[in-house]
Amino acid sequence: MPKLIQIFWSFFKIGTFTIGGGYAMIPLMERELVDNRKWVSREDFLDILAVSQAMPGIFAVNMATNIGYRLRKAPGSLTAIFGNIGMPIVIILGLATCFSFLQDNEVFESIFKGIRPAVVALIAAPVFNMAKSAGINWKNFWIPLVAAVLIYLLGISPIWIIAAAIVGGICYGKYKERKEAQV
């Protein structure tokens, strides 16, 4: 059974040395947890990956929760989570306090004036690839469209939209099951 400090150190490395979010951590996680430490088999790793994506929450944290639990139950989970997000939180807080002093700095403002439209583009651009990988077609394209219109034009909270999608998805799934049972 691995020591908590080993779990912490592995997830610390994974969390601290990847820039670009949870999915960017996958290769590092695989190398560290499957190849180096041999804590999970490659097959299990892929299963955990699928479950972590399917569940709500932050992907990397879900991975850490599950793998930590396999190794050392709940204390293992907590250790993996704090290893994974501890340093990123400290770094953000360090920057946040520095930036609040720079707020009125002209150079700082020029840099961010350039970055702001880029950020909007970086949120907009992946929409198309995500739509493709979500299997968009002529029958279902109304789903993202209606969601976007309800949020953007009518100001409805995305939380309600997600809740409706869960209920709708379950109803549709039940309907499909019944139809398949008839055939």
Binding site: A54, T65, P88, L122
Partner: protein
């Protein structure tokens, strides 16, 4: 009481956070900027930029920084801001972690279940709409500037938007590189040219 409200807001965001880091950003944007007005759109885009070029999960980074800024905006000290930041980061993962522990304990595998798969496919499509709406909501005078105050800034903003949009769709350019380059562009254009 802003601490309680923030806690509750991030608890909800966590529970409904399907579909990765951009979905987290979309949910936080809607709750924190649109609904509660704790942050301006400008502050929020700056936070998203910082969250993408620093280590760690983007959703956590955004939650941390948003919590800090919301508390400081409300007139509290930086120390309480740090407290609020840690609280937001923890409350956004609280419900997912509990659910994940249950799943890990019972070794549930979603792929065995058709109903779960169907629900997830509907959710994935919905999240696409959610992120599109967040992008549209962030197209504002605060992020692009206005023609009235500075035509030059508006044109530069549209240029940067188009360049980054095309680079990421057409050439799959790294978001980190795009943010750094547009920062350099801003520094040069607004510092020396405009």
């Amino acid at each position: 009481m802003i601490f309680l409200k923030l806690f509750w807001t991030f608890l909800k965001i966590g529970a409904f956070n399907f579909g990765g880091g951009l979905a987290t950003i979309a949910l936080i944007q809607n709750e924190v900027v649109e609904k509660h007005g704790w942050l301006t759109a400008q502050q929020f885009t700056d936070i998203v930029a910082t969250s993408q070029i620093t280590p760690g999960p983007v959703g956590i980074n955004t939650a941390t920084y948003t919590g800090y800024t919301a508390i400081v905006n409300a007139g509290y000290s930086e120390w309480l801001g740090i407290l609020g930041a840690v609280m937001c980061s923890l409350s956004v993962i609280l419900i997912p972690v509990i659910l994940m522990l249950i799943v890990s304990k019972f070794l549930l595998k979603h792929k065995d279940n058709k109903l779960v798969a169907t629900t997830l496919s509907v959710l994935r499509l919905t999240v696409v709409g959610l992120i599109a709406a967040a992008a549209l909501l962030l197209v504002s005078p605060e992020t692009f500037g206005t023609y009235a105050s500075s035509p030059a800034q508006l044109f530069v903003s549209i240029g940067i938007f188009a360049a980054v949009f095309i680079a990421s769709i057409g050439f799959k350019a790294s978001p980190i590189l795009m943010i750094l380059l547009s920062g350099v562009a801003g520094f040069v254009i607004y510092g020396f040219i405009v």
